[in-house]
Amino acid sequence: MTVATRELRASYAFIARNFSLSRRYWGWELAFFVYALAGALAISFIGAAEGDPSLTFSLIIGAVFWNYLSTVFSFIAETIAWERWEGTLEYTMMAPVRRSSQLLGSTLYAVMYGLVHTAVILVVLVAFFGLDLASANVPTAVVVMLVGSFSIIGIGTMAAILPLLYVERGAQMTFVLQSVILVVSGVYYPVDVLPQWMQVLSKLSPATYILDGVRAGLLDGASVADVMGDLVPLAVMGAVLIPAGLWAFGRAERYAKRTGKLKRVG
């Protein structure tokens, strides 16, 4: 078996395991889905109450795509936290698997899970509010989502380090980080309304560019060329954050092995 085959097989191990976990926790999956759908509906009704279809569509995009981004982020960021909760972290860390293969498997499942989850919510909302997508440029939205996913994966990988370094507080820190991204990224409002110092943070968040590009494509029918201002920062962030995340993960694992932090369960 070649190294590549073995590592791909290892990545598949994480995809299959996470799928099994979703299947076994189907009750929670259903509950989370209903909650996400209800949240998206509740926010979208604000637009309906204003009688402004454009605002409604903008809020729907915010709710639906934030659901995708937060799902992918939390899946990756909680890769280590789950294993701590179950007590399996040591067994996974002593298996002959490269961290890149482990994170690839977790990431692929997160993206697939997020896409299915989000697509269902989008279909329900579009049907519910009778939105007209005739003038939307869907390929632009898809390209922005794909390019943007890399940067979210990079940030998620970095966040996954926190439960490795801080046995109990790591998972809490990733939750706080996710909350900060929500506030500064213009999910439900333009970032112009934020105080100046928060606007600086918004420029550092990939979610800002993803939502801006997706809205431009779906609301204004912008082409891929029109949203290069969003795509370039996203591509740069992805190119920097993924290698940086893997490097930092390796350093964090080394630190955990030096200090004995792989053992503790959260």
């Binding site: 395991r17 099994s20 179950e86 040591e90 002593m94 298996a95 698997v97 490269r98 792989l262 053992k263």
Partner: protein, 306 residues
């Protein structure tokens, strides 16, 4: 208290007791004399932990040297907090060494970590699983990480667990519905599934009912014979150590204070200390404590299963 730390002979890398056994004693299961490196070599290994801020580091493993021959079962005895689990974790690549070196069949655990990982597996006292997943789902996850095809993994899982008394029809329900003993057997199957050449068993029978304990013990014997595996076994059960282990090392406060065959240790404690020729006497004589005692100043990493 006589302290005789085993040091490896430069030429053979075999440990030599500083204070040799009065007469040669038979080894219960002769380890295979083959050319090449030993299954496991531990040389001058020390590991410290800092517990809390502004506290002096706690020495969990203190200048330990030992070797395990191919096909040998090496027992590690020690009180809670004595350093057994830390030593096992160092061998498992789960901790980095402060000083010294550990090699598995000539592969250094730090420089050649991935090669070592492919050769070893470990069973700890806590059978950790994704509890909602079935035993088969957990075992397939482990097998895939080690590159095993699914069909092979399924067949082997069923065979190993049947040998341990768990039927195939039990493998589809959530692991959390199994008893502690059954979960531990699944943990053993998980380790065996990958055909490790060095198996690290960290108190695998602690907390098991007598029947399960016997099942596991006889299975360990089978594994050594059938799989040609070398085994390090930590245990609190002296009868288990005597039954299974070719040689036994006693750890006290992180130091390997003595090692030898069970017979040799019993003879020595009678001759040198005038005590009853039992392993319990030997343990008391070389550590000054009972096997059930907890070591007060345990390492930061040693708070659960050592």
């Amino acid at each position: 208290m006589t302290t005789t730390i085993a040091r490896p002979d430069v030429r053979t890398r075999r440990p030599v007791l500083a204070d040799p056994v009065p007469a040669p004693m038979p080894v219960p299961h002769a380890t295979r004399e083959v050319a090449g490196p030993p299954a496991l070599l531990v040389e001058g290994v020390t590991k410290r932990f800092v517990v809390g801020r502004k506290r002096k580091p706690v020495v969990a493993v203190d200048d330990v040297s030992l070797h395990v021959g191919r096909g040998e079962i090496y027992g590690l005895l020690g009180a809670n907090g004595g350093g057994k689990s830390t030593l096992i974790r160092l061998m498992s690549t789960l901790l980095t060494l402060d000083t010294g070196r550990i090699e598995v069949f000539g592969h250094d655990v730090e420089r050649d970590e991935m090669a070592v990982k492919r050769l070893i597996n470990r069973v700890s006292v806590d059978a950790a699983f994704f509890k909602k997943l079935s035993p088969m789902e957990n075992l397939l996850f482990a097998a895939r990480m080690y590159g095993l095809p699914d069909a092979t993994a399924r067949a082997e899982s069923i065979r190993i667990l049947a040998r341990l008394g768990i039927s195939e029809k039990r493998l589809g329900r959530p692991t959390e519905q199994m008893s502690r003993g059954m979960q531990q057997k699944v943990a053993i199957a998980r380790a065996l599934l990958t055909s490790p050449t060095v198996l690290l068993l960290d108190e695998p029978t602690t907390g098991l009912d007598p029947r399960s304990k016997l099942d596991v013990q006889s299975f360990v014997e089978d594994v050594r014979t059938a799989h040609d595996a070398s085994i390090v076994l930590t245990t609190h059960d002296l009868a288990e150590a005597e039954r299974l282990c070719d040689r036994i090392g006693i750890l006290d406060s992180g130091r390997l204070v003595v090692e030898g065959t069970a017979e040799a240790l019993k003879t020595r404690v009678a001759v040198e200390h005038g005590r009853a020729p039992t392993l319990e006497s030997a343990f008391m004589a070389w550590t000054g404590r009972s096997l059930d005692d907890d070591v007060e100043e345990s390492g930061g990493e040693e708070d659960g299963d050592d």
